[in-house]
Each structure stands twice: as C-alpha cells, then as structure tokens.
C-alpha cells in the first residue's frame, strides 16, 4: 500500500497556532486507524489565516484543509480527508485557490511546496541546476555570463552583485557568511562566493 503524503507546515506562524500538535494528532490517528501516511513538514503557503493548513496529496493534486487544530483531526479521518474527501474545513485543490492562482512566485516559488530541509525536494524542483552548469565553466566565464544577464543587487547577502561590485572576480576571494530564509538556496547563493 502506498503511503498518503500529508503536509503540515513547520514555519513559525503555523506553529504559533498549533501546527506541531496538529501534526502529532495526524500521526497518532493514522497509526490508530492503521492508515499508512508520509507526514511532510513544509513551509507555509502564505495563507496564514488558514494555518495550520494541512494538505493531502491525491491523484488530482494537493487538497487543502484549514485551519486544522489537533481536535479536528479525528473528524477529518472520519470524513476520509486522507483521500481528499469533502469536509467543512476543505478548500479544494491548493493550486486552484485564488490567493495562489493569481500569484506568480519567483523567490518564493518553492516555499510551502517543499520541505525546506530536504535536498531531494530541492533537486526535484530544479534546485542547483544553475550551479551544475556553472561548475562546468571557468571563473571568468561565470563572471561574463552573470554580467551578460544584467543581474544586479542582492549585495547584502554577498550573493552575486556584479553591477554594484564593478565586475570584480570573486573567485579568489575568501568566503563570507551568508544568510537566507531557504537553506538550500542559501547554499546555492554562497557557493560562488567561496568557490
């Protein structure tokens, strides 16, 4: 039997309204009912008013329920939410919700979709593709391609900043500390600084 994947955010806002308790309740109820699940702690989709927002992966895509408190969990299993069925807290497919459907996400494209600490998730969403390409190039060629792209800014994190740094070659410069909200991207961001 294939485990049903269920997402419960682990970000600070979701946890402030009981996401950890909700996640524990889901794991407990699933075990009690002998239902095989894979519990993933993702980031928040950003719909904080619906946190804790629980998502169930179905054949039709991810289905959203929220706000789901620990007390709601037994009733959700009764309603077969783990098969994406109807419930007063159900909101249908996450991707179809107007809040998300009307957005074009760039820097936040993976936030809420993946487990931010999962390398497999990051790679599954095209993570490190640019880095893999860059590793095939000489440092000077990387500088040229970044300059040609017109990319600028981000200087505060010591990421690429060719337009403000006068195209100097960072390849031989010592690594500096970087910080970022998404750890896999932070690694990607600081890699050229140290390489």
């Amino acid at each position: 039997m294939i485990a049903t994947r269920i997402y419960v955010p682990r970000d600070a806002a979701a946890r402030s309204v009981g996401a950890d308790q909700t996640a524990r309740a889901i794991a407990f109820e699933a075990e009690r009912r002998n239902i095989s699940i894979e519990l993933v702690r993702n980031g928040s989709r950003g719909m904080l008013w619906r946190e804790p927002l629980v998502e169930v992966v179905t054949a039709a895509g991810r289905v959203a329920y929220g706000p789901v408190t620990a007390d709601d969990v037994p009733g959700l299993f009764e309603a077969n939410f783990h098969h994406g069925r109807a419930h007063p807290l159900a909101h249908g497919r996450t991707d179809e919700l107007p809040y998300l459907k009307n957005q074009e996400r760039l820097t936040f494209a993976r936030v809420g979709v993946t487990d931010p600490r999962s390398l497999a998730d990051y790679l599954g969403h095209d993570g490190y593709r640019g880095l893999a390409a860059a590793l095939q190039l000489e440092p000077a060629a990387i500088v040229d391609s970044v300059t040609a792209s017109g990319l600028r800014g981000r200087g505060g994190c010591q990421h690429f900043r060719p337009a403000s740094s006068g195209r100097r070659c960072w390849a031989r410069r010592p690594a500096k500390s970087t910080s970022c909200a998404t750890p896999m991207r932070a690694i990607r961001g600081r890699f050229p600084t140290g390489w």
């Binding site: 600070a12 806002a13 946890r15 402030s16 309204v17 904080l48 008013w49």
Partner: protein, 124 residues
Amino acid sequence: MPKDAVPLIAISLNLSRAEVHGVLSFYHYFRKEPPGRHVVHVCRAEACQAVGAVELESHAKKTLGIEWHGSTPDGAITLEPVYCLGNCSLGPSLMVDDTLQGRVSPKRFDQLMAQLKEPAVGGA
C-alpha cells in the same frame, strides 16, 4: 545584573558608571533581579492591538496579579511587553519562553499559564 556589578563593568570597559547605568536601564533585557522561571512576552504592537491585545494585556495583568516587568509571588512567571513578534496576521501574539503563540484569547492565555504553573514532569 546586580547593582554592585556596575562599577566593575565600568572599570573593565573604561566607561563611567553613568554610561553603564544608562545602558542597563534603557534595555529591558538587562535585569537587576532574576526573572521568574518562565518569561511571558505579550505583543503590544499595532496589528495585535487591532485584534484584542489590549484586552489580553489587562486580562494577563489581572489574572497574574502583576504589572509589566513584574513576577508572580511564586516565582513562576514574569510578564514583559514586546513590540512586534512578526506574527501580525495571527495576533494577538505572545512568547512563552522561546515558544511563539498566535491567536491568543484570554481563555487560551489561561490554559498556557496553567501549564507553566504545573510542576515539571519528573520533578524540577
């Protein structure tokens, strides 16, 4: 930071006692007396005020019987104000020690405080 430590700090850092006192009294995270076993920070910023933080604040002071920066007589809880925990969409917010709490109604506040007053499992 006991009062007697001020001259020692002043000498070590080559500052006047007045300067050290200025810093210690300006920043509330420096304390003259030890806090209670748990520190509860109640958010007083605008977004939380818009969704009931003022009511929560008076409820907290009344039920704990203390004012800002005060500690309950049993040493369990110290009450502090804080200005924005970044949890604006889920206010009223507070921090119980290191744990962020959102949508805190007076009833939820009472539940959280009751947990703090319980003795630790297995004895302290």
